[in-house]
Each structure stands twice: as structure tokens, then as C-alpha cells.
């Protein structure tokens, strides 16, 4: 039997100024998986760039990723080791009416699963490409904060970032 509604918004923000990073703090310990939907624009005149994820403020080389993308009509795949983040959108975001949309999924984020590395599967879409990522944060503590960063430049005003939690039965 179904155990009730379980895909719940935790927090959302619409940035009203250019911002280098944004952190969701004090994430409740009650959710099995966490999901972030990022609808990103760049500051006026900004170039395309990438959005990436850090967990619990860890800026060490504790992250790695494998990804697959189509940016110019050609399939590509890459891998990065010993990163300080996991990407969630390689083709970044745009000004005006164009946006990139990223979905970030973090599995088994609460204290029931402390002791295992945290797996992320992320995907993004924009007018210039589509990407899918799998990434790992080797930290094993529960996820209490998530920081979204840009790899160059800022998030533009109007960027919408929403965090959801999913509870397993």
C-alpha cells in the first residue's frame, strides 16, 4: 500500500542578484533522496558556463564523475577524478529568455545510510546541448547542506533553485 505523499519541497529561492554560489543549509534528516531543480540564467552579457554541486561544505578533492553529452550533434563521454565538485550541467545557462534546466538527484542522503559514499545522477538541458552525469562524493556522513556553484562567473538574477526531499516507505 502507498504510504502517503512523499515528494516534498524543502526550500526554494529566486536569486535577485548575481551570486557566485548558493547553499541549502539545515537539510532535514528525514528524506531518503534529495532532488534539486535548477533553472539558471547568466548575468547580462555572461558566457555559457557550468553549474556544479558540493556537499556539506567539502571543498577537498573528494568528488569524481563520468558523463555523457551531446553538444554539437556528436556523442561524447568524459571522466574526471579527484574533483572538488560534481557537475550538474556542462552547457550552462544563458541570458534573456533562454535558460538551462538541471535536475540533481542525491541518493541515500540521510543518517540511515551513513557509511556509504553519496551517488549523484544529474541531467541538464539547454538550447546548446544535453548532458547526463553520474558522480560520487566520497564523504559518508549524511547530507546536511548542498552548495551550488558556478565554475566561472555567477548565477544571474532570476535563477530559480528548488530543493525537494523524497521519503521511502
Amino acid at each position: 500500500m502507498a504510504a502517503g505523499r512523499t515528494y516534498e519541497p524543502i526550500a526554494t529561492t529566486t536569486l535577485n542578484t548575481t551570486t557566485t554560489s548558493y547553499t541549502f543549509n539545515s537539510i532535514p534528516n528525514t528524506y531518503t533522496d534529495l532532488v534539486i531543480i535548477a533553472s539558471c540564467v547568466a548575468p547580462s552579457g555572461g558566457a555559457a558556463r557550468a553549474i556544479a554541486v558540493r556537499i556539506n561544505g567539502d571543498t577537498s578533492q573528494s568528488y569524481s564523475q563520468t558523463f555523457l553529452w551531446n553538444g554539437d550533434g556528436t556523442l561524447n563521454s568524459s571522466r574526471n577524478v579527484n574533483l572538488t565538485y560534481v557537475q550538474a550541467g556542462y552547457y550552462a545557462y544563458f541570458t534573456g529568455t533562454q535558460r538551462s534546466l538541471s535536475q540533481i538527484n542525491i541518493f541515500r542522503a540521510n543518517s540511515n545510510d551513513e557509511g556509504i559514499a553519496k551517488t549523484m545522477i544529474n541531467r541538464s538541458s539547454s538550447v546548446t546541448g544535453t548532458d547526463v552525469f553520474v558522480g560520487t562524493w566520497s564523504g559518508t556522513t549524511r547530507v546536511s547542506s548542498i552548495t551550488l556553484i558556478t565554475q566561472s562567473g555567477d548565477f544571474g538574477s532570476g535563477t530559480i533553485l528548488t530543493l525537494y526531499g523524497i521519503k521511502a516507505a
Binding site: M1, A2, A3, G4, R5, T6, Y7, E8, T32, D33, S64, Q65, T66, F67, L68, L75, N76, S77, S78, R79, V81, N82, N105, F107, R108, D113, G115, I116, A117, T119, M120, I121, R123, V132, F133, V134, G135, T136, S138, T140, I166, K167, A168, A169
Partner: protein, 277 residues
């Protein structure tokens, strides 16, 4: 109506509360949050009750805001608030702004399976209710294999016939990518990884959507993406699959690992959710 009564608390005469000042009502999922400002005169209120119009549905709390649940999505409501203490109730406040209750989220947990340290090589969710539009399976997978390729695959309703097909695109990094296709298969391959998942503490993650699973007139389509990364070893994949059964709703899902004779994985996690349409 205010009762006008007074009572004694710890030897003091307690007045009935004075009417609170209504604030902003905000729509929620089949609910509303009603803000107010407590009165500074009169007796202290021990609790506050928000009352809906229409419906006379109430919510109670000890401070602002008070949540009123059980509203009907799509219906417009206003709210009034009163304070209560042992002596009695205040009058209700003036009415709030009008809100329209929102549709509640239609994503519900159906069942979860956590694997033990060892066991059989199949996992089955059975007795799946047909009350949802779609299903989503979120899987966290690790195996104990040390050689060969790993597969995670699906069967429905116990059908072991050659009634399944799938297409998959995968990337293994460093410019390595590829495709797979299965026709007339006995399962849907969600991922055929080119290496095993046996890396300490690293789990593959998958999100598998099963579309229109309760239909009795359409074949059943799945879409999935996921993979694993172990800092130098990993693979990402996305996949479409089909079960060529158009007459029967899916009432059970079996997750199988065709390349395993047994598994001795640690702490895998499978969670099945229903999505209402």
C-alpha cells in the same frame, strides 16, 4: 461568540482573549497557512483556531501561523481566527484574503526493499496498486562481483517470455561510449555496465520510470538513467524499454541481475513510488 466568563488561573482572574488581527492566508497543498497577530489586550490566548469559509474546516495552533488541512484543491477559501483560553473564546476576526487550495503532490511511496548482506538474485515488488498513473523505481545498487559485466534488469508480472526490448546509450569516460539493443529479450536491460560495481562504498544509482503501467490497452514503456562512478572507473547510461503486453496492468516488478548466480551485496536499496496523473 465570546463567552464573557472569567476563570481563575493560579489565583488570578483570567479574562477571555481579545480578537486577534487577521493576517495573510497562503495556499498550500489541500491546505492553507493563516497568519494573525495576537491581541495585546484582554486575557492571554492559550490556543488559536482558524476557521475556513466555506466548509467550516478548522486548524489549531498556539501561535501564528495556523495550518488548516483537509481543504479541497481548486476551491477558494477565506479564514477567520479566534483565541481560546480556559475562560472562553474571543470573537472571530475579520476574514482573510481569499486563497485557492492547491492540488497535493501526487508522488507516493509504495514500498521499499533493503537487501541483506547475501540472498537470492531477484527482488520482487508485488501487489502494486493500480491507482497511480506512472511508477518510479529508485535503485541504489552494489554487487560483489569482481569480474565480468554487471546488469540490472526488469521483468513484469512474472513474465519470463521473450516479450521485452530495450535500447541503451552509455558513456564510460575518456571518449568511450556505446550503444546496446535487445529485441525479443526475456527482460529489459536498464544498464549493462562494462565493468562490475564492486567498489568499496560506491553504489550505482538509477531512476526508472514505468509509464502508464496500469493501462489495459497499451504496451508498457520504461525510461531510465543512472550509473556509478568510482573515481576512475564508472559508467553513465540512459535507456528506453518496452514490455509488449497491452492487455494487463503491471502488478509486480521483478529486478533481476542476469549475470549473477547469487549476489552478496551489502545494503542495496530499492524504493518504488507511484505518481498520480
Amino acid at each position: 461568540m465570546a463567552s464573557g466568563r472569567v476563570s481563575k488561573v493560579k489565583g488570578k482572574v483570567l479574562d477571555t482573549p481579545t480578537v486577534p488581527t487577521i493576517g495573510t492566508a497562503t495556499a498550500g497543498a489541500e491546505s492553507a497557512s493563516v497568519e494573525f497577530t495576537a491581541a495585546t489586550k484582554g486575557g492571554p490566548a492559550f490556543s488559536y483556531t482558524a476557521l475556513s469559509n466555506p466548509g467550516s474546516i478548522t486548524g489549531t495552533g498556539t501561535s501564528s501561523p495556523v495550518t488548516v488541512s483537509g481543504l479541497t484543491a481548486g476551491t477558494s477559501y477565506t479564514f477567520t481566527v479566534r483565541g481560546t483560553n480556559p475562560t472562553g473564546n474571543s470573537e472571530y476576526s475579520s476574514a482573510s484574503n481569499s486563497i485557492t487550495a492547491l492540488v497535493a503532490g501526487g508522488y507516493e511511496s509504495i514500498a521499499t526493499y533493503n537487501t541483506p548482506g547475501s540472498g537470492t538474485d531477484t527482488i520482487t515488488f508485488s501487489s502494486i496498486p493500480s491507482t497511480f498513473k506512472h511508477l518510479q523505481l529508485r535503485a541504489s545498487v552494489r554487487t560483489s562481483r569482481t569480474a565480468g559485466n554487471d546488469l540490472i534488469s526488469l521483468r513484469f508480472n512474472g513474465d519470463t517470455g521473450a516479450n521485452y526490448s530495450d535500447h541503451l546509450i552509455r558513456g564510460s569516460g575518456a571518449g568511450s561510449y556505446g550503444v546496446d539493443k535487445d529485441t525479443s529479450s526475456t527482460y529489459i536491460n536498464v544498464h549493462r555496465a562494462s565493468s562490475n560495481f564492486n567498489t568499496t562504498n560506491v553504489y550505482a544509482g538509477y531512476i526508472i520510470d514505468i509509464l502508464d503501467y496500469a493501462s489495459t490497452s497499451k504496451t508498457k514503456t520504461t525510461k531510465a538513467f543512472g550509473g556509478y562512478d568510482a573515481n576512475g572507473n564508472g559508467q553513465i547510461a540512459f535507456n528506453s524499454g518496452n514490455w509488449r503486453n497491452s492487455s494487463t496492468a503491471i502488478n509486480s516488478i521483478t529486478i533481476i541481475f542476469p549475470n549473477f548466480s547469487t549476489y552478496a551485496i551489502q545494503n542495496m536499496h530499492f524504493a518504488l513510488y507511484g505518481i498520480k496523473g
